[in-house]
């Protein structure tokens, strides 16, 4: 056959057309994409047996039930536990990222000791014996009271083990990290006579008056509050948000009332003024179950007329009057306070003023109201036997000054500790345990906190993560994370019923970590005598199981125990004050003195603006930092690259010559930082807001070095009535960078 030009071209063109019409090119592109996607470095998740384990999340005081999805012995996903009384299937962003806190790079993988400024591996036995030696030495010098412990909570077996250890060792210095729990507990103590905590029956309330509380920004138990909020939407409940900034809560509320920051307490008294003047209060409660009303009434009527309050708060008189009427006329109104997520206690007088509103409308220990709950009573350990060294140590006053002198009512005053240590010649704290908390990040004026901690000769951190406090510790004795350990989870922040959760090991410990409870028991045993005898358990698990007794089986099976039939005591039995009635006033703290809004630190001339923090669900701002997934969700108007954006009203920005996305220098009396500017109409002119939860120096590369820690820019302001930190903001100035 002769191949001429014509047949050659026909063959080539025909071949090309044929190939194009055949599946070959499609097959080739398909194969090509497959070939170019299978590289050895792409992980192929291994398959295995699926199982689910119910447990409780302990990443915040919310106490949500979780269902952990496992493949063989790996945690693949954490979901909300269906049917759990607190969260019923819902889960927050931090809980969802929990697996990253198990497998992440921020874990401390073995016990570490700081030698010449660098961490070196050490065995568990060596570490415990070295610490034990130091403690024995202090005790033999009669300085047992110079040992302190900072914990994130004072309820549950782990904090109780620390407390017990300190007591039998001879130190009264167990300190809980500050939060609105402090103020609410004190309010309940002074007004209700109840030693315990508040429960808020939010699900049944139909009118929530929130004084800057982040109802859906993480206040209380976050998921529970979200659910309650959705209920109010469905059932016509009202939320009124009083706050200087348009937070998510303010945006979702039925009415946002912008208020001059720090003046919330004056507004509460102003509302009381109208309610009393128009006789809208619950006279049955006020006349029969309260004392001090007449004196308090005079105080409110004289000093808090709508005109005066309008001037203090910046809220229109008519708004105040109609708000008071709406509140008093609602069938189950509830007033709550504690700013944002509640990381700062706040002014006691403000808390008492807000709680007095609940009393005026008689919504105490009632459906939809505030309930005074007693402390949980499931921990009943054998009576302590103490030697003379312990008794001597326990007679020393607390280093933070709580419970005596100026502040007889306060239980813990961690906010005062850094200053006390820094101003002393020799640190009054010689050894410090830190557990379930990260004070070098969460306390105001971080620089002075770090300075104080560096003056303490022995700091032991039990953090499972390399956080800011662990970084400056002398020993890190890493605890298991919540997915690896047993722990009881005592009543949840703001939950209205007694409940105990059980966090249990979902997987085996990933690293050479040890349960903090076991470390304390071992430490006590190594010290012998009375101290060893105070801990009659072999292991922490043994201790926990004995403590929980007949609840153990329910807890292991269900994950929680609750008294679902619980009802708060009636008015006649509900108050354990001296008068057995609700007390509107308290002379010991001089509660009838003029309410003067807490002034932010700094003079107005050099610092014309006011800087306030804001809380967001997407930024964990407590003792745990954001895992990679959570920080990924942070908007680019909050964090851009490594820069934090501060919110400022466009009018204020214009005056300062600042534009969107531009750099600016932010200065407060405590420090300064380079920030970017984000114009936001939802913030009061003259005020700038900054998110909490950024500016970590520790943790992993996904979190460290991003933004500024708000606590570096603010210092504590002591409440004259309670000693707690009441700082809600600080004076600031902002200038073009």
């Amino acid at each position: 056959m002769k191949i001429d030009r014509r047949s050659f071209l026909s063959f080539v063109i025909g071949g090309a057309a044929g190939t194009a019409l055949s599946p070959l090119p499609w097959k080739l592109t398909d194969d090509l994409s497959i070939w170019t996607q299978t590289w050895p470095w792409v992980p192929v998740p291994t398959d295995g047996e699926v199982s689910y384990v119910n447990s409780v999340c302990t990443l915040c005081p919310g106490g949500c039930g979780i269902t952990v999805r496992k493949i063989d012995n790996r945690v693949v996903k954490i979901e909300g536990m269906k049917g759990h009384p607190v969260n019923d299937g819902g889960i927050c962003i931090l809980g969802l990222s929990g697996a990253q806190l198990l497998y992440g790079q921020m874990r401390v993988r073995e016990p570490l000791k700081k030698v010449n400024g660098r961490f070196k591996k050490i065995s568990w036995d060596e570490a415990i014996s070295e610490i034990s030696k130091k403690l024995v030495e202090l005790r033999s010098k009669g300085e047992s009271y110079k040992v302190a412990c900072i914990a994130g909570s004072d309820r549950g077996t782990v904090p109780e083990l620390f407390n017990r250890f300190l007591t039998v060792y001879g130190s009264p210095n167990f300190i809980r990290t500050p939060s609105i729990q402090d103020s609410y507990e004190l309010t309940l103590h002074l007004m209700h006579g109840v030693q315990g905590m508040p429960g808020f029956d939010v699900e049944n309330s139909d009118f929530i008056l929130s004084f800057s509380s982040g109802v859906i920004d993480g206040w209380g138990s976050p998921v529970r509050m979200f659910k309650a909020n959705s209920n109010w939407r469905d059932n016509g409940g009202k939320v009124i948000q009083v706050e200087p900034r348009l937070s998510n809560t303010a945006a979702k509320s039925d009415k946002w009332i912008a208020i001059n920051p720090g003046t919330e307490g004056a507004l509460a008294l102003g509302l009381a003024h109208i309610i009393i003047k128009e006789s809208l209060y619950n006279s049955s409660f006020v006349n029969n179950y309260s004392t001090g009303f007449n004196r308090w009434k005079r105080h409110v009527m004289d000093g808090y007329s709508p005109e005066i309050v309008a001037k203090i708060t910046g809220i229109d008189k008519s708004v105040i009057v109609s708000l008071a009427r709406d509140f008093a006329r609602a069938s189950k109104p509830l007033a709550i306070c504690g700013r944002g997520q509640g990381w700062t206690p706040g002014s006691l007088k403000e808390f008492m003023a807000v709680n007095a509103l609940n009393a005026l409308v008689g919504n105490i220990n009632k459906e939809g109201g505030i309930w005074g709950l007693a402390e949980p009573d499931y921990i009943n350990w054998p009576e302590l036997e103490m030697d003379s060294a312990a008794s001597r140590g326990m007679q020393e006053g607390r280093i933070d000054g709580a419970g005596s002198g100026e502040y007889p009512h306060a239980k813990y005053l961690l906010n005062r500790l850094p200053e006390i240590i820094n101003s002393a010649e020799v640190s009054p704290v010689q050894a410090l345990f830190v557990t379930g908390s990260n004070p070098c990040y969460t306390l105001p004026d971080t620089a002075s906190v770090k300075k104080a901690f560096e003056r303490i000769p022995l700091v032991v951190s039990f953090s499972p993560y390399i956080d800011e406090t662990a970084e400056i510790a002398d020993f890190i004795l890493p605890n298991h994370v919540f997915l690896e350990r047993y722990e009881d989870v005592p009543p949840v922040a703001g939950f209205q019923k007694p409940i105990i959760g059980l966090s249990k090991p979902v997987v085996d410990p990933q690293f050479n970590t040890k349960h903090v409870g076991d470390v304390i028991i071992q430490l006590a045993k190594s010290m012998g005598d009375f101290i060893a005898n105070a801990f009659p358990w072999e292991t922490y698990e043994d201790c926990l199981q004995t403590t929980l007794g007949d609840k153990w089986d329910t807890l292991v099976q269900e994950g929680y125990w609750t008294d679902s039939n619980f009802a708060p005591p009636a008015w006649a039995q509900g108050f354990e004050t001296a008068s057995t009635k609700f007390e509107f006033t308290n002379d010991e703290i001089n509660s009838l003195s003029r309410f003067s809004p807490v002034k932010p630190e700094g003079d107005e001339a050099s610092y014309p603006l006011v800087l306030i923090p804001y809380d967001s669900m997407r930024l964990a701002s407590g003792f745990i930092g954001d895992p990679p997934f959570a920080i990924k969700t942070v908007e680019d108007t909050v964090l851009k690259g490594k820069d934090v954006l501060i919110e400022i009203n466009p009018a204020t920005a214009k005056k300062l010559g600042l534009a969107e996305g531009r750099y600016a220098n932010l200065t407060t009396p405590k420090g300064s930082a380079k920030v970017k500017v984000h114009l936001f109409d939802g913030i009061m002119p003259g005020i700038i807001a900054m998110p909490r939860g950024l500016g970590h120096t520790a943790y992993d590369k996904f979190l460290a070095g991003k933004g500024i820690n708000f606590n570096e820019l603010i210092g504590p302001v002591e409440d004259t009535a309670s000693g707690h930190d009441t700082a809600w903001g600080i004076s600031a100035k902002l200038a073009k960078a």
Binding site: T29, V75, I216
Partner: protein
């Protein structure tokens, strides 16, 4: 066995309940092996199948208002399954399922031309500019139900299709052809602490999603509930994600309107 009726899985998001907390985003990331990088603040490059947008009414203080809008893939039906992305894909890597109404994405077929990204009016499609990297040990939390995507591949929300497959497998094992309403739910729906997301079959009048929006299937599923709207309704993409709101200014953000144009 009787041929089962075609499903049209869709989602209703109540913007009055959404708190902008971000749970849906992370639930999705954890469920679908979504990678993460050191800096995720460039949102054009950040891979998030579910993204929560913050809307502002633009009024000055104190009349300002904000609202959050979670945005998964809309799983557009277009006309007869011609969703914008499906019609442009040269690799048949994305397809509209008449059986479930889900727009699929087959990663191993995708060769990264990104036509679909240009075609999608909702920005739901994301491109892997880098290989995904899980720091040592973190690969343990990867789920075997969803494959890990490579550099050069487009990915997007699948309405957790693997969950559909798993529940269908289970149903078939039990001799059933139909799923209960709550059997197949997406990860974001399940996680939402505010209960703002509802998921179900828009063809089934018994399902909550149907009762919430009352889709008019003769008009491409346009909602009959006046509180409900879909994004960019006028494009005719016939999306299957509906939003509910009681705030007029939020509703008016469903599309781009000219100044003197009435809705």
């Amino acid at each position: 066995m009787k041929q089962e009726k075609a499903k049209k899985y869709g989602m209703v998001i109540d913007l009055d309940k959404c708190t902008g907390c971000g749970s849906c985003m992370v639930a999705c990331m954890a469920e679908n092996n979504v990678p993460f990088r050191e800096d995720e603040s460039d949102k054009l490059l950040s891979i998030a199948w579910m993204r929560v947008y913050k809307l502002t009414n633009g009024k000055p203080f104190p009349d300002t208002d904000i609202c959050y809008l979670p945005r998964p893939c809309m799983h557009c039906e277009g006309h007869h399954g011609h969703s914008p992305c499906v019609s442009v894909c040269p690799a048949t890597a994305t397809d509209y399922s008449e059986e479930t109404g889900i727009v699929s994405q087959i990663y191993t077929r995708c060769f990264g031309c990104r036509y679909c990204m240009a075609a999608c009016p909702y920005h739901v499609r994301l491109f892997n500019w880098w290989d995904p990297v899980w720091p040592d040990g973190m690969e343990k939390s990867l789920s075997p139900n969803v494959s890990v995507r490579m550099r050069g591949v487009v990915e997007k929300c699948s309405f957790c299709f693997h969950r559909y497959q798993l529940t269908m497998d289970k149903a078939h094992m039990e001799g059933r052809r139909e799923l209960e309403e709550d059997e197949y739910q997406t990860a974001c729906t399940q996680a939402c602490p505010a209960g703002a997301i509802t998921f179900g079959d828009l063809n089934n009048p018994k399902h909550t999603v149907y009762r919430m929006v009352k889709p008019d299937h003769k008009q491409g599923g346009k909602p009959k509930n006046p509180k409900a709207f879909r994004l960019l309704e006028r494009l005719g993409t016939n999306p299957k994600v509906y939003y509910l709101t009681s705030r007029e200014w939020v509703r008016s953000m469903d599309d781009n309107y000219l100044k003197n144009e009435s809705k």
